[in-house]
Amino acid sequence: MKTILKVSKYFLIVLICAICLIPFYILIILSLNTPQRIFYEGNMFVPDFFLRNYVDAWNKSHIGTAIINSAVITIVALVIILVFGAMAAYTIARFNYKFNQLVFWLFMSCMMIPGIINTVPLYTLMIKLNAINTLWGMGLVCATIAMPSAVFIFTGFVKSLPREIEEAAIIDGCSWFTAFWKITFPLLKPSVAAVIILNGFGIWNNYAQAVFFLQDSKKHNIPQALSVYFQQFAGAHWNLMAATAVIAVIPVIIAFLMFQKNLMKGLTDGALKG
């Protein structure tokens, strides 16, 4: 009985994993087939290795520029979130000032508000700031949207660290401010991974805001570039669509595999203790 249960559990897990992976598999095969070939005809496991798709996809779509744009936006946003967010979380977790309480309350209540709610008035502000079609502007917007959840995760994590670690440094002549940079900030590493995974991919993949703020084709991020490209080709060139999607997805998968080990630790240590 116990082995039957165990085997069926394994079977279920393998099935779930297969359901998660099959679309990726089909995507890769599609991207390697010649335009004439219909995916499920003939051998589904051996593609044509028609690499022209990738060359064409790279040349015809602006995916190369888009990857660089997405990378710049994501780095700008993540640096702001990690530095400002961790700083705010530190003082919120350690000092019970009225201002800190207000900021935390503000972040927690605004966490419930999706970005789309204020995108239209934000659009007019961005025009005034000359920030439309700029990567730094988009980075700032993305950082703002992700800030509440980052502060939430960091605050929970800082609270789980003993206050004594900073107090020891302060006895040695540090101020609370320098103690943060020297002692606390380096200890935040697991929650940094959680913040990057929970927010970084959302920023990299942002579409709802990019539609408004990145209209110039030279400034398109990945989803914007893909949607423009796919709308021109939809239905006609599946292999090119698939090849572009593969190119767009590879950096994300590499980054995810790099950070996934720290995710669980970051979440269990910090996120749920707010």
């Binding site: 559990k9 279920l12 897990i13 779930i16 359901i19 998660c20 992976l21 679309p23 219909i38 995916f39 530095v83 400002f84 700083m87 705010a88 530190y90 003082t91 000032y97 972040f107 605004c110 419930m112 999706p114 789309i116 709610i117 204020n118 995108t119 239209v120 008035p121 934000l122 007019t124 917007v141 950082a143 703002t144 609370w176 401010f177 943060f180 995974i197 990299w204 993949n205 579409y207 709802a208 408004f212 990945i222 989803p223 893909l226 949607s227 796919f230 599946w238 669509m241 999607a245 997805v249 994300v252 998968i253 995810f256 595999l257 996934q260 995710l263 669980m264 269990t268 996120a271 749920l272």
Partner: protein, 301 residues
């Protein structure tokens, strides 16, 4: 007139003489950024929603006219219905499937790490790209899913789903659940791992079955994770944008359009004032279920 300047000078002086530490102001940069790019537009939006502004010219105050117009617009009512239906399908499914995944993955077994990574993987991919991938797989006649259903003689299940409202909504919900079940799972896993083993042991000593220990130990201890998942899934589902854009583009016609797409299209259609009014309505549509679910999960904790 110089009050803010002299206040600032005073503060700077106190920092220099170390009467106030810099740590007092560490929340200021995050606050300023948030105030400028989030709070200010949010408040400005309330004012804009009362005008007929087209985004360029001058705007006239028209009171609550935009809100009346919204509820008179059939397309807008359809969009509310779609948004709510999508959330009603997607948020509960995500939670149930995510919890089942987490319970399956919580034990010790070989390959646990890889399985978790695989299940989480779809969640890191752009929902827009995911939507396009599924669009290819689900194409009538040529898509892989159509072909697979044909093999078992059930191709009518899919049919020409793009032309059928119910089929479109089901596909949208299922693709969304497929993509984000892993994210819900990870939060539940974190919750499960914070439950002390002793609680299960004492339940076992008391002769509790698997189900009763699930009911009386796991579920109550899991409340913080349940709250996070329920709230984020409600918000995420009600604000759905990318997947709908990629899979149906709001079609056929405007029949599967959601509120966030409506806001974007109204803004592009130079109805700036009106689209901020829609955004405010959407804000309340999200707020109500979020507050209710927060209340419900807090009481049971």
């Amino acid at each position: 007139m110089d009050a803010p300047a002299s206040f600032l000078k005073g503060v700077l002086g106190m920092i220099k003489t170390k009467k106030i530490g810099l740590h007092t102001f560490m929340a200021v940069p995050a606050f300023l950024l948030f105030a400028l790019f989030f709070i200010y537009p949010l408040i400005q939006g309330i004012g804009m929603s009362l005008t007929d502004w087209d985004g360029l010219g001058r705007s006239n105050f028209i009171g609550l006219q935009n809100f009346f117009d919204f509820f008179k617009d059939e397309r807008a009512i359809t969009d509310i219905k779609n948004t709510l239906l999508f959330a009603l399908g997607s948020a509960p499914l995500l939670n149930i499937i995510g919890l089942i995944y987490a319970l399956l993955m919580n034990g010790k077994f070989k390959g646990k790490g890889i399985a978790r990574v695989i299940i989480y993987l779809p969640a890191v991919i752009s929902p827009l790209i995911m939507g396009y991938i599924w669009y290819l797989l689900l194409q009538p006649e040529r898509g892989f899913v159509f072909h697979a259903l044909e093999l078992i003689g059930k191709s009518s299940w899919l049919g020409n789903w793009l032309g059928d409202y119910t089929a479109c909504m089901v596909v949208l919900v299922l693709v969304n659940v497929w993509q984000y079940a892993g994210m819900t799972m990870v939060i539940y896993l974190a919750g499960l791992q914070s439950i002390p083993e002793e609680l299960y042991e004492s339940a076992k000593i008391d002769g509790a079955s698997y189900w009763s220990s699930f009911r009386y130990v796991t579920l109550p201890m899991l409340m913080p994770s349940i709250r996070i998942n329920v709230v984020t899934n409600i918000i995420g589902s009600l604000a759905v944008f990318d997947i709908v854009m990629a899979l149906t583009d709001g079609g056929p016609g405007y029949s599967t359009e959601t509120l966030s797409i409506y806001i974007m299209r109204m803004c592009y259609g130079s109805k700036t004032g009106y689209s901020t009014a829609v955004a405010l309505i959407m804000f309340f549509i999200i707020l109500i279920p979020v507050i209710i679910s927060m209340r419900l999960t807090r009481e049971k904790e």
